[in-house]
Symmetry: C2
Subunit: 231 residues, 2 copies
DNA sequence: TTGTGGATTTTGTGATCACAAAATAATCAA
DNA sequence: TTGATTATTTTGTGATCACAAAATCCACAA
């Protein structure tokens, strides 16, 4: 039972627990990364015992994790108690876009003074991997790396408030993104990562805000056009 | 058991469950209103069995609710598993203020087209009660009514994203507000509620944004000056 | 073939329990 | 009296269970 599979620190969650809530943390990490990389399909119901068995734990920690994620609006609890990945609607999508444009440029600007040349170098390496994942069409890797790129920036700031809010937004749109990538592929994805990296090197707040905002609009613009027509 | 005390929509939670998660909803509502009216003291640990006994339920639904609220950053889970109301810091306070100023004016503007003259009338009545609670120095009533005033506005919009984010922010600063009111009283509180109500009557988006922003700055400005010096 | 009704299984919920970690109380030595 | 050390209690965690609601399956009739 005591699987010690510690991969990385979950963004919103707390520090790597010693041995207290180890099982719950394991489940939390597993479900969160599954959501962020799109391994959960919107509309698909998530059963308690099923997930528990997949992860080799009792239903108890799974219950708590699902409650947590429902509180973050990453999952919804239907009136009958069933938990499922929320489906995207046009209104929801527009509002997420609006919220991201409000929060993330601000978050990036807050992080800017804390970002060093070393961080810029690290971001460039991630961006190279992103280009590679686009080339091979590996949507899951692309999503993981894109999340990593953004939150490597945001989490440089000591933010306790805006950062969890942004993380909550990502959890909400990521499963839908994955669906769209599966449908239209990742080939024609364009991003503003190089501009963002340059702005960080130059410590240019306005340029960074603009790069992040453009990246958000660009990325979700593609999704918006092709993804929501069928719903 | 079917207490219909709906002060506001619990952020993540759904409609009043029929009989499925009734106990959990009861606990959720109880803890949320306790936080919003400041009945929980920052820094004070919340014990699982204690809360369960107070509410006359088993520790089980309390566990899930505390996990939910921890996910919304309304409570924090210390590395030893203890749950407590977070303490306010200057940085935290400033960031909450920033986040509120980003989200709530936007939310108000989104709600504006849905707000009728009837709503404006209702808001005026609430504001009268607020003035009364200030007069009698009833801090708990003031907090409940102030929350009601703001979210009567915000929740008029069909927002699914920004509204829960705003609710999360309120859960985070409310306990701290209560502490300050207990120290400096509610006598010298000034708000922009009348300006907001007028802006709603006039359907003037810019004026409403400005009234909400001013109300936030004013209300938290008082807190900021007097409240955080001791920490 | 297609509904339709009842039987069966699956599911979430709340409660209880055993256990280990942590916090608190009590004890004793200096 | 004060400090550390041990004993006791409290606490969160994970597992299991009983139960009711819900979903699924299946037989049967039109």
């Amino acid at each position: 039972m005591g699987q010690e599979v510690r991969t990385s620190t979950p963004t919103g969650s707390s520090a790597p627990r010693s041995g207290r809530g180890a099982t719950r943390d394991q489940v939390d990490r597993a479900v969160r990364t599954a959501l962020l990389t799109g391994r959960f399909i919107p509309g698909k119901a998530v059963t308690l015992r099923g997930l528990a068995q997949d992860l080799g734990v009792s239903p108890m920690p799974v219950r708590e994790v699902l409650q947590r994620l429902a509180a973050e609006n990453a999952l919804i609890v239907r009136p009958n108690g069933r938990v499922q990945v929320p489906e995207m609607t046009a209104a929801r999508f527009d509002e997420i876009l609006k919220a991201r444009l409000l929060l993330e440029p601000e978050l990036a600007e807050m992080a800017l003074p804390y970002l060093t040349r070393r961080d810029a170098k690290s971001l460039e390496e991630i961006d190279l991997e992103i280009d590679a994942s686009i080339g091979t069409g590996d949507a899951e890797a692309y999503m993981r790396l894109n999340h990593l790129f953004h939150f490597r920036i945001y989490s440089a700031s000591p933010s306790e408030i805006l950062l969890p809010l942004a993380e909550s937004l990502w959890l909400q749109f990521a499963p839908f993104m994955r669906m769209v990538y599966g449908r239209v592929g990742t080939a024609n994805l364009i991003d503003w990562h190089k501009e963002a990296t340059k702005a960080i090197r130059d410590q240019d707040a306005a340029a960074l805000r603009m790069a992040i905002a453009s990246d958000i609009k660009e990325g979700m613009g593609i999704l918006g056009r092709d993804g929501l027509t069928s719903e």
